[in-house]
């Protein structure tokens, strides 16, 4: 059973010439215990997708399911915690009263809530500000309170829309650590973020949404693998003549200080490169398949779509 399932979701805002197609048939699955990162530029449809899965926005077509329950049913949201982007707590609430309200709405028993609210406030570093009105909170404090309210129902599935937005680098590292801890607890996390380095560090799988379509999806390993490009560290560096000989074996070759980067047609072709280098008395000090950063993958994907 998938923790989260989106099947052919479509959503159009507005009518006529001014209509905007936010989603154009998005399908994805998130397995239980997985951290799924959804990337996309502003207006790509990331927030709309989450809102449809939580029944905050109604899809024009397609179906969303949470733990096999249709997402339109209130019960489907029982195991869910949600941190919206640009969320706003009413200013008259205090950190503690906000968590109590959301805990009660999430169906948490009063006795449990009495214990859990201080725990969560401590977890997000708001114990000292628990009784203060939200209007006196900084952006980072509001964001941490938002994270605490997402966790107050002890959810099995977390939807986090830009969770580190407005949080300082220390706070970001804390949130990352928290996400990793939640993953160890076998919770499913659906993460929307602009911070690609953040997604790269914590996500198991990533999807890229562009123009309302899921244009690319896969594990981090699969997405960042740069085809059959290998980086070979040598000692000494290959001579220009040797480089010429290598060019005959591979698609492309490029020298860098301390080695060469070769692009081969098929993975086994790299063995022939190593054999040639060894035969010419060049020592191999390292060999690794070249990886792209997630940012490179993301930009390449957007360029390809453009």
């Amino acid at each position: 059973m998938d923790a989260i399932l989106a099947a052919g979701l479509r959503k159009r805002y507005g009518r006529g010439a001014r209509a905007v197609e936010a989603l154009r048939g998005v399908s994805l699955q998130v397995r239980p215990g997985e951290i799924y990162g959804l990337l996309g530029r502003n207006g790509a449809g990331k927030t709309t997708l989450i809102k449809i899965l939580l029944d905050i926005v109604r899809a024009d077509a397609g179906e969303g399911r949470i733990l096999d329950q249709p997402s339109g049913r209130p019960q489907a949201r029982r195991p869910v915690g949600y941190l919206p982007e640009d969320h706003r707590f009413p200013e008259y609430q205090t950190g503690e009263s906000a968590l109590r309200l959301h805990g009660a709405m999430a169906g948490v028993a009063s006795a449990t809530l009495r214990r859990r609210v201080p725990e969560l406030l401590e977890l997000v570093g708001l114990t000292a500000a628990a009784g203060r009105k939200v209007r006196g909170y900084s952006k980072g404090m509001k964001q941490r309170l938002g994270l605490a309210q997402a966790l107050v129902g002890d959810p099995r599935i977390l939807f986090l829309d830009e969770p580190t937005d407005g949080v300082d680098p220390v706070g970001r590292a804390e949130i990352r650590a928290l996400l990793e801890r939640l993953k160890q607890q076998d919770r499913t996390i659906f993460l929307n973020s602009h911070l690609l380095s953040e997604v790269e560090r914590v996500c198991d799988r990533v999807g890229i949404l562009e123009g309302g379509l899921l244009v690319r999806e896969g594990t981090l390993d699969a997405l960042t693998r740069a085809g059959n490009v290998f980086r070979i560290e040598t000692a000494p560096p290959p001579t220009p003549e040797l480089l010429e000989q290598l060019r005959a074996l591979v698609v492309a070759v490029e020298a860098f200080p301390g080695g060469v980067e070769v692009s081969v047609e098929r993975e086994p072709d790299v063995d022939r490169v190593v054999d040639l280098l060894r035969a010419r008395g060049v020592g191999i000090r390292g060999l690794a398949g070249k990886r792209l950063s997630l940012e490179e993958v993301f930009l390449q994907t957007l360029e390809a779509g453009a």
């Binding site: 019960q75 949600y82 919206p84 969320h87 609430q93 309200l101 009660a104």
Partner: protein
């Protein structure tokens, strides 16, 4: 229930934060203190009887807010009032009462007063039925005889609030008939002018005059229920609470709430009921506090007054329901408040126009009348709740006899099933519209 309580607590926190709760509570406390400063002092029974007897020919016709007085036209003299004693030959139920002798200067004087009284009673009946007295041919009056004269005196003194009245003809003195009228009241608080009312802890004291203490209390309580709570309190509560729903519907706030495992209808209705709970608490403070003050200081403690909490809450619930769809569509507290107050004003204006038409042109031009009737049927009849308050308070404070005799004609006859039923239906319709909009919208 837990979720509702949590949302209710949140609504109270919001009301507290907007200082609305403090302002209304302070007003409630102020009024409770003011009521605590009111006291009634019983006046000497003989003085009261002499004073009442002097007004034998003053016929006052009270109808709702209007009062008209007329002079019966007779001339008479009074003896000093005396206490009834065992050897006075009066029925035993008059023991503990007082008597007074009335000598009419001429027999015709008494008969003029009797006829004025009979005419007055006819008018009272006609006005109760909203019959135009001037167009109506007056019924011929019966000839005045000894029974009519005795009956007049007996009814007149009963109308002053005496339960037991005994009239005995004492023959003639200096050409004028003399009557001895013995009276006793089991409920002193229902005798006209039987008390002096003291306000502001005795700073201002005056006799209740043509009113009994119980009637005075009815006026105090209906004034509080209709003017302070039913108008000013309701208006302030509407203006303040109209912002509750838009604050929930703000972008960023609503996302947090809608992601919870609660249906949208429940969420909206819980928030709506939070506003109602806030007004209920205000009503409890105001009516509970003033009721207690009246009970402690004046011994008047009627449940009818406490029941006004329900009419306040009902009136608020109806008008607050108007704010629901407006808030859902516009997310504006100002527009929601304006809509609620506007419907309230429109309902009252239509009801008043119908009444004016009734009194001026009777049934009126049929087209206009039909339109007015249709609009009246649809709009909430919040102004009728004032009449309901008056009815509940007066029924709670006055005995059956006093209510029938002195108050029943002041409370207009209202078809409560129609009035409350159509008003409730209007509120349900508004709520339904709000819920329907809220369920179908994207946020």
């Amino acid at each position: 229930m837990r979720v509702w309580l949590a949302v209710f607590r949140d609504a109270l926190a919001e009301a507290w934060d907007r200082r609305a709760f403090q302002v209304l509570s302070a007003f409630a406390l102020l009024f409770t203190l003011a009521c605590f400063s009111i006291a009634f002092h019983v006046r000497t029974a003989a003085d009261v009887l002499e004073e009442r007897a002097r007004e034998l020919d003053q016929l006052t016709l009270r109808m709702g807010s209007s009062t008209s007085s007329s002079h019966g036209g007779g001339s008479f003299e009074l003896s000093a009032a005396s206490a009834v004693r065992a050897g006075d030959g009066l029925p035993p139920e008059l023991e503990g009462g007082h008597w007074i002798e009335v000598r009419f200067l001429a027999p015709a004087d008494l008969d003029t007063m009797v006829q004025s009284w009979q005419r007055h009673e006819q008018q009272r009946a006609a006005r109760r039925l909203f019959v135009d007295e001037e167009e109506q041919d007056p019924e011929p009056l019966p000839p005045v005889g000894a029974p009519e004269r005795r009956s007049f005196l007996e009814q007149r003194f009963r109308a002053f609030g005496y339960d037991h009245v005994h009239v005995a003809e004492q023959g003639e003195r200096d050409g004028g008939p003399v009557y001895r009228v013995a009276v006793r009241s089991a409920r002193d608080e229902e005798v006209e002018g039987g008390h002096a009312v003291s306000l502001l802890f005795g700073l201002w004291e005056f006799p209740t005059g043509e009113f009994s203490a119980a009637e005075m209390m009815v006026m105090f309580q209906t004034g509080l229920a209709n003017t302070f709570a039913g108008f000013i309190g309701l208006l302030v509560a509407l203006l303040v609470s109209a912002g509750f729903l838009p604050s929930l519907l703000q972008k960023g706030t609503l996302d947090l709430m809608l992601a919870r495992p609660i249906g949208r209808s429940r969420l909206l209705l819980y928030k709506y009921s939070g506003g109602i709970g806030f007004v209920f608490l205000f009503g409890l403070l105001l009516f509970g506090g003033t009721w207690l003050a009246f009970a402690v200081r004046t011994d008047f403690a009627s449940l009818g007054y406490l029941a006004c909490i329900l009419t306040l809450v009902f009136g608020f619930a109806v008008l607050y329901a108007v704010a629901v769809p407006v808030a859902v569509l516009t997310r504006s507290g100002t527009l929601s408040a304006l809509a609620a107050v506007g419907v309230w004003g429109a309902g009252s204006a239509v009801a008043t126009t119908r009444q004016v038409l009734d009194m001026t042109v009777g049934e009126g031009p049929s087209g206009l009348r039909q339109v007015l009737d249709a609009v009246y049927t649809v709009l909430p009849k919040v102004s009728d709740l004032g009449d309901l308050n008056a009815w509940m308070v007066s029924r709670g404070l006055l005995s059956e006899q006093a209510w029938e005799l002195r108050f029943s004609h002041q409370v207009p006859e209202v078809d409560w099933v129609f009035s409350l039923g159509t008003t409730a239906l209007f509120a349900l319709g508004m709520l339904g519209l709000g819920v329907w909009q809220f369920r179908r919208r994207d946020y």
